[in-house]
Symmetry: C2
Subunit: 490 residues, 2 copies
């Protein structure tokens, strides 16, 4: 009916949009008010949802009320509730209220700041917000940058720039059939570095095998002596080192590589230094907490994810660099249909710095958030999370049946149950801790994830959700102890 | 004040979020109702916006009312209005009402369907929607796929998969120091193919120079004979051909490469065939209009952008492939902290198919849109756009002072003013048409872009915005003729 009438082609009629959007806002606000009543992880099995949807798209239009009813029945309860204050798995990606308002406005404006002309405000507000964040993080004015979708892409961009900075002209000539590249290219990161580095190297044609994983010390921090030796060995073998990736806040244990010592090596060797601070970066906004960051201002590039510990809705990753020109060398390619008549003017064309042409207007939500919280408000929330983590670590340390498996420089604690007086072997301990975590997660009040540290199964509790308070972590601790007490009881 | 009180840490209070979000909805609905009253392109110069914002982020929190007032004063009027029905530049990326509702819910749910466990509904609804679209496009059941952010990334994924399919194990070993790769790698696309292909090759370490641009005929369609000859010459020179990219709807003129003939060559040569239908793909939903797509079902991979001509808010690109395993070979890398205890079950982990780990829940907005419009509703809107383009092309053809510069297989018309009886040289014609376009764009009622076809400056009018009606294109035509009449008049 609606689609047969030419007057009703085009978009949803304005009055219907307005009323539907108000209804959606109530669903959204209800969700945020009630999110703690959901089990964080829904009690379903893989493959159980797909059969609940029709196998084909509907031929005829359906009313929005029916769609929203299905949203409430089928979509919302089957989400993993990243917004739940008991979400303590992975690294939190929580969307703050002001950030969500930003996404709403982003959606309606439909900006694509690929070139200045396609979104003047999208382009210039990105410049504003990138510089606001740079200053808040205490980085020097030489750092410029851009917002990308993910740390995976930010790191990929950094390593592509490193490829160009090495003077091998990979963007133009590629890497194959290049005998001048010697015995191959090499990049260095610790054994604890994030998989995004290996993945970037897969994508970039460098290959997983180009990444040399440098051993860490007992605190899971890269050992500079091993790094220096690895570079020397590669040079001796005719290989061409390109870049070092150091991490402030590794994914497993949030360990901190010794940035200053690594920066010395990068400088001496003439290598690009990329710092992965995707999770922990926001802590640099706390001047009293900047010790782990000492030396990062010497990096060529740094990634920090606002969609992690800055409460920004996915997606928003910040790539800062003092070498924008190398990013441009890696990615600029301006065809005629994107040339604009104002190219001689100072408008920035952000697509020249990334593998994507189209781009979302990510600066808007950051601008709203930074103003609504104020830097004071952001800092207070980070401090609160750090204090909760410190408290949780102290409870673990005080309990003889539990073992903390790594230092806690930020807001993530790795632990395992290892009861005194019971001589459980390594495999049994791993199985017991996996079972304990599973029991806790099935309860639904909290959601934890795991990792392996020095070969052992580690339960991992990561604080960073904007709605998490100390009581949620207290509850996680109670649940862990209960599950441990019940382990092995038939 | 707010930030000093521990009770007021955490997120924006629920009642404040609810009322702010309702206020934002009114801003959004007002914008969509009034968008036609803005000049499509704001009358500002590059660099003029940044100084209007404070140079640093605020220390203290600001009320949401002040932020939204600044949004109305500073952000909204300085956007390029992609939502404006007079937006006829580039390819439209318009966000439909139901798509915007989807983005609102996406923002509040905060899903990250990187592995099944981090978003069961995000993962399985993506499987549902990808298959709904596959069927609607008339593609066989062998095609599976995923949603990505942009066509740039979809094409990059396809070409990375092609690299793996060629058996050179680039993901693991990289491309440097590989004498077995002979005299280098080669990919083929027409001279009219999109810059994203070259950019993907820059990123992938294949290099811009690995792309062989095959000449087109006078209709801007790839010439298969040239393609076959280029491949043969490369093989004779010891180079290793990897893939062919054929385009259905090139960016400049929306020309259509002869897919079936190209598929024959790809099959004969054992090369990956990627079809770029980022813009024109949705037309395959119209069975009577499928002729240009004949043979695309033989492709290894196809990209179609819902955020172009399916009215979906940026970002949403659909990559379909019959070789998901090759995508996985190119991108899978599962570290311990992402291993889940349910990996033996049929949950799909979408991060294994793309360069990004984190992913937005893009399926939700598509599910809402496809239901709200119904396939009938989508088809009716596509038919309407095709009819408007046909009408506009007929007006151009009927006016002796104007020249249509390319066939119009879809909804985009390339034209220029070339007045009869005035012997203007090539450079003057180019300058006149650039000036005419500029005059029209400065008027603000419509926004056009340009390209070059066979070396001449072409004004390009592209229909695809969901709000565009025939009257907007009639107005564009009147403005073009007025500007031409005034050209050269002192």
């Amino acid at each position: 009916m609606r689609t047969d009438d030419p007057a009703h082609l085009g978009d949803m009629p304005p009055a219907e949009f307005r009323s539907a959007a108000h209804a959606v806002v109530d669903l959204m606000a209800d969700y945020l008010e009630n999110v703690a009543s959901f089990p964080v992880f829904p009690p379903i099995e893989p493959g159980s949802l797909r059969p609940r949807f029709p196998s084909s798209a509907p031929e005829t239009a359906e009313p929005i009320a029916a769609i929203l009813a299905d949203y409430s029945a089928l979509i919302e309860p089957n989400a993993t509730h990243w917004q739940h204050p008991g979400f303590l798995a992975y690294f939190a990606t929580s969307a703050s209220g002001p950030g969500i308002l930003g996404e709403m406005l982003t959606a309606v404006l439909g900006q694509n700041p690929m070139v200045w002309r396609t979104s003047p405000i999208g382009t210039e507000l990105e410049q504003v917000v990138v510089d606001w964040l740079r200053q808040a993080l205490g980085l020097p004015v030489e750092f410029d940058g851009l917002l990308t979708d993910t740390a995976s892409i930010s790191t990929l961009i950094a390593l592509a720039a490193a490829r160009e900075a090495a003077g091998i002209d990979a963007a133009a000539k590629g890497l194959a059939a290049r005998p001048e590249l010697g015995a191959g290219l090499r990049l260095y990161a610790s054994t604890e570095a994030h998989s995004s580095i290996d993945k970037a190297c897969m994508t970039l044609g460098l290959g997983r095998e180009s990444v040399v994983h440098i051993p860490t010390n007992a605190r899971f921090e890269l050992e500079p002596a091993h790094l220096g030796a690895a570079i020397a060995a590669d040079r001796a073998a005719g290989r061409l080192p390109l870049a070092i990736v150091a991490t402030i806040g590794t994914t497993s244990s949030t360990s901190v590589d010794p940035i200053a010592a690594i920066a010395d090596i990068a400088e001496r060797e003439g290598l690009w230094l990329h710092v992965d601070a995707a999770y922990a970066g926001p802590v640099a906004m706390l001047p009293a907490r900047r010790a782990p960051f000492a030396g990062w201002e010497r990096a060529d590039s740094i990634v920090i994810n606002p969609h992690k510990w800055l409460f920004t809705p996915l997606d928003a990753s910040l790539l800062l660099t003092r070498r924008m020109g190398q990013l441009r060398a890696a990615f600029s390619l301006v065809p005629e249909y994107l040339r604009t008549l104002d190219r001689e003017t100072p408008g920035r064309d952000y697509n020249e710095y990334s593998p994507q042409l189209g781009r979302r207007f990510r600066a808007l939500k950051l601008w709203i958030q930074l103003r609504w919280f104020g830097l004071e408000g952001i800092r207070a929330r980070l401090e609160a999370h750090l204090a909760i983590a410190e408290a949780f670590a102290s409870w673990v340390d005080a309990d003889p049946d539990w073992e903390r498996l790594a230092p806690v420089p930020f807001s993530t604690v790795c632990l395992r149950w290892r009861p005194v007086g019971r001589d459980l072997d390594a495999a049994t301990l791993d199985a017991a801790n996996a079972a304990i975590m599973d029991t806790v997660n099935r309860n639904g009040e909290v959601f934890l994830s795991h990792t392996r540290l020095s070969g052992v199964f580690a339960i991992r509790l990561a604080i960073g959700n904007i709605r998490t308070e100390q009581r949620h972590v207290e509850r996680a601790w109670a649940l862990l102890r209960e599950a441990a007490a019940e382990w092995g009881v038939p």
